[in-house]
């Protein structure tokens, strides 16, 4: 952190506001109010971006943030994640958690005995066991996302009674709290057919403060109603109506009073339009994600680590952050870690000598690597090849285009030519990035508080197949090493939190040294809400508790009510 602050002090070239210490920014802004002070009742209209067809969040077609948003009020999760990404047992579902590590890791969950599915059946160890069978990947008939962790479980048994779940691991797994989020009933996870299509176009079974009232596919709305058989604190709201609209229509609907809350795109036009809404406000906090530039370590020019580091040093990250945030009233800062955000425990700026904008040093590195400019200001060449990089951007996405143009101008100063190539958004990954057909690309990593397991795929070394081919999988930068893998494996297996964070930071330092992916900045999360709504807004890493959302005034509750 000290480094970030020091940077802002010494750099006088960058226009725009000085950088701030990101740890001073809010991790959540949800207008927290005690339940007792909230009005009872009311309807909340919540804008979403699409009406999903597949509501099983563990199915590849249901892997949408909209699905998670809706299911948060409907499906169980044994752990609640707070705004900085730490997990706590959720007493509505789990009353006690015991972890034993010797001789093998065993996690014992004591379930809340009153917890029931909407079918009336109790939630038991069988639901947990069936979920592990489905998601472990051992049965190819289950169409699954491939979430990390389930395959490390040896078996799931009942403990003293049906409400005690004993989970025995083959290999230690520190992120066990990430498992069983959006628990499905055994009826739908014990059978591949039910798993694959049981939640298609419907949400048949729930167990939360709300229950599904209706899905209207013509108006594209999903209505949740307070579940009276809920065993916890009852929901304050009568109903939540999720309404799907295109981004521009969401802005208009909020201004018009047609929706009460929605996530505003990090986009100047939307933000400027919405912040003027009467009776509304934009709640902003640090988002659980960050933007970065990935370099293809197997492209001819970038296979040299010195060239990659020269690109790191030649990009002025502060200027890019300033440009991204200039119109949304959000102080800019840069990020020095691939895994942790500055508002999280254990964050260290590991960028070292590779995080500061230093075109002179970049030029030296390029000279040393044999890339020389025939004349000052010209594109560098080596053995007749010119130093030209292809920067992919998704078509029609103006912020990415602007960002790429900034990078283009910055790298031109150190003699690297950047060609910006706009490709169809739906083909960016499948057609270009995954097959390694690119030099540079920028995108966002969104996390949920479990950086080691969630992003393992992005940093893992290639697997050599029997025929001698390197398979990089989803490590799209195609840079890896046994040391990075070792540190990550350590972080995954280390159940002592501080030791796990040390291993994570070790992996991060190695990634900086390897010139793997340049983190740019942590993004803000902007959520527009009515001013009289409480316990809803930008919630950081954490999930909201939908039972606590409510209106602070009777007016608000009755305005939303029919």
């Amino acid at each position: 952190m000290a480094l970030v602050v020091a940077l802002s002090g010494c750099d006088s070239q960058v226009p725009g506001p000085p950088l701030v210490d990101p740890a001073a920014l809010p991790s959540a802004e949800i207008n927290p109010v005690e339940r007792g002070q909230l009005a009872d009742g009311g309807t909340l209209r919540w804008g979403i971006n699409e009406l999903p067809a597949q509501w099983n969040p563990h199915h590849p077609a249901g892997n949408l943030s909209t699905v998670s948003t809706v299911l948060r009020g409907l499906l169980p999760a044994p752990f609640h994640i707070d705004e900085t990404g730490r997990a706590h047992p959720d007493p509505d579902y789990v009353t006690d958690v015991q972890v034993v590590t010797d001789p093998t890791q065993v996690v014992t969950l004591t379930l809340e005995p009153r917890a029931r599915w909407s079918t009336g059946a109790p939630i038991t160890w069988r639901d947990y066991a069936a979920m592990v069978d489905a998601l472990s990947g051992s049965d190819p008939d289950y169409q699954v996302l491939g979430e990390v962790g389930y395959s490390r479980i040896a078996d799931v048994r009942a403990g003293a009674d049906d409400h005690e779940v004993v989970i025995t691991f083959d290999e230690p797994f520190a992120d066990y709290a990430a498992l069983f989020q959006n628990l499905l009933p055994a009826d739908y996870s014990a059978d591949p057919e039910a798993f694959n299509s049981g939640y298609l176009d419907r949400i048949p079974v729930t167990a939360g403060p709300f229950a599904l009232d209706a899905i209207d596919p013509s108006a594209q709305t999903v209505t949740l109603a307070r579940d009276d058989s809920w065993w916890g604190e009852p929901a304050k709201l009568d109903r939540i109506v999720f309404r799907s609209l295109s981004p521009d229509a969401l802005d208009a609907a909020f201004l018009d009073g047609g929706i009460d809350v929605y996530a505003v795109a990090v986009d100047a036009a939307s933000y400027q339009r919405v912040k003027t809404a009467s009776g509304g406000e934009v709640r902003a906090a640090l988002a659980p994600d960050y933007r970065h530039i990935t370099l293809n370590g197997q492209s001819p020019a970038l296979s040299d680590v010195d060239v990659r580091h020269a690109v790191f040093l030649g990009i002025d990250r502060e200027a890019i952050a300033n440009s991204a945030f200039s119109a949304i009233d959000w102080p800019s800062s840069v990020l020095g870690n691939h895994f942790l955000a500055p508002n999280q425990k254990g964050y260290v700026d590991n960028s070292g000598k590779w995080g500061t904008y230093d075109p002179e040093r970049a030029a030296e590195l390029l000279d040393g690597a044999g890339w020389r400019a025939p004349e000052p200001g010209a594109v560098r060449t080596r053995q007749g090849q010119s130093l030209t990089l292809r920067f992919l951007v998704p078509q029609g996405f103006a912020p990415a285009q602007n960002e790429a143009e900034l990078v283009q101008a910055m790298l031109a100063e150190i003699g690297i030519e950047v060609r910006i190539e706009a490709v169809p958004g739906d083909q960016l990954f499948g057609g270009y990035v995954l097959p390694g057909d690119y030099d540079m690309v920028a995108f966002v990593n969104s996390g949920g508080g479990f950086p080691a397991s969630e992003f393992l795929y992005q940093w893992s070394n290639a697997v050599t197949t029997p025929d001698g081919q390197d398979k990089w999988g989803s490590n799209v930068a195609r840079i890896g090493s046994p040391e990075i893998d070792g540190a990550l494996a350590g972080a995954l297996e280390e159940l002592e939190p501080d030791a796990a964070l040390r291993r994570l930071n070790e992996a991060d330092r190695l990634l900086w040294e390897a010139g793997h992916t340049l983190p740019l900045y942590q993004r803000p999360e902007l959520v527009a809400t009515r001013t009289d709504l409480a316990n809803v807004g930008a919630s950081g890493f954490g999930g909201l508790d939908y039972a606590d959302i409510g209106y602070t005034t009777d007016d608000g509750a009755s305005a939303g009510a029919p």
């Binding site: 699954v144 013509s218 208009a252 009073g257 739906d426």
Partner: protein, 327 residues
């Protein structure tokens, strides 16, 4: 009449089959739904993605001819296949056609009627104040892109709501979700939602039709029978309305038929801006998602509209204009 109809029907049916096949083959060649899965971070296992695409007959690795045959055998039974995420395309299309109809019907009817009337009036007062004003306004509206008309009307409505502090006009959606109340309240709620999109649809239609109708009428004004009618003592306006309007309606009916078919496709901006989930939005979103079957289905529907509109226009002309019956 029957022979005339049959001949038309067979020709149009053939045209429909060719258009539908082209739609699927083009969509299946150009679009790839795999990106929906591969764009996820992390992407699901490749075997799972292949299994899913195979299940929905969407795998680009399957030969095109095979995919086409599977698709065509479904379409014959009224099944347009599945989207990349498993949703039923036929059901989705039917729902969205309903939404588009509710969005467009009133606007299209108002547009056609208003346009013909305005055009006829303008022609009867050729070079009068009404004529000149309508020409100027029409040209302005015609040269404004539909999306600008939609956004301007929406912004105006938001401004009116803000200034008056009321919720007179609603800027998005078909109705207020979850509104309880009697039938009267429901109808009023729908009307408040319908006003702006109806204007968005009707205004450009009125502008176009009035120009078209005016010029048709003016051509008629110089024709023998109108001159004869005037020579028999009718005023210019009466001669035009009684003798010129009917003949001028023939071409207008044809034009109306085809333009209302295209209305479905051009409604995409109205749907996007006002948040109605109709056919135009379906096409645009599906192209973005590489959703082959959805794109093919909308194109088939578009072809059906154009063909049907052509048929109806032929029948309409047949009824309006006795001269066509000689053929």
């Amino acid at each position: 009449m029957v022979r005339f109809l049959l001949r038309r029907l067979v020709g149009k049916a053939l045209l429909l089959v060719v258009a539908a096949s082209c739609a699927h083959l083009l969509a299946a060649t150009a679009l790839d739904p795999r990106g929906n899965y591969e764009g996820q971070r992390p992407p699901p296992p490749a075997e799972t993605v292949d299994a899913l695409l195979d299940e929905y007959n969407l795998n680009p690795d399957t030969p095109l001819a095979e995919r086409y045959l599977v698709w065509a055998s479904g379409v014959v039974t009224g099944d347009f296949g599945r989207s990349w995420d498993g949703s039923d395309v036929t059901a989705q299309l039917v729902r969205r056609v309903g939404v588009s109809l509710r969005l467009l019907a009133l606007g299209a009817a108002l547009g056609a009627l208003g346009g013909v009337l305005l055009g006829a009036l303008a022609a009867s007062r050729h070079r009068g104040g009404l004529d000149r004003t309508s020409v100027a306004v029409s040209l302005l509206v015609i040269s404004t892109p539909a999306v600008v008309v939609a956004v301007s009307l929406q912004s105006a409505a938001l401004w009116v709501n803000q200034v008056t502090g009321s919720e007179l006009l609603r800027a998005t959606g078909e109705f207020t979700p979850g509104l309880n109340g009697g039938p009267v309240a429901q109808v009023m709620d729908r009307a408040r939602h319908l006003l702006l999109p109806t204007l968005t649809v009707a205004l450009p239609q009125i502008a176009l039709f009035s120009r078209y109708q005016r010029n048709l009428m003016l051509d008629e004004a110089g024709s023998d029978y109108v001159r004869t009618a005037r020579a028999k003592g009718l005023t210019k306006r009466a001669a035009l309305f009684r003798h010129g309007l009917r003949t001028a309606l023939g071409p207008a009916v044809t034009y109306f038929g085809y333009s209302s078919a295209l209305l479905f496709a051009s409604a995409v901006f109205t749907e996007k801006v006002f948040g109605w989930h109709g056919v135009g939005e379906y096409l645009l979103d599906s192209v973005g998602r590489g959703d082959v079957h959805a794109v093919a289905a909308v194109c088939c529907f578009g072809a059906l509209c154009v063909v049907t509109a052509g048929l109806l226009a032929d029948i309409g002309r047949f009824l309006v204009d006795p001269r066509t019956r000689v053929l």
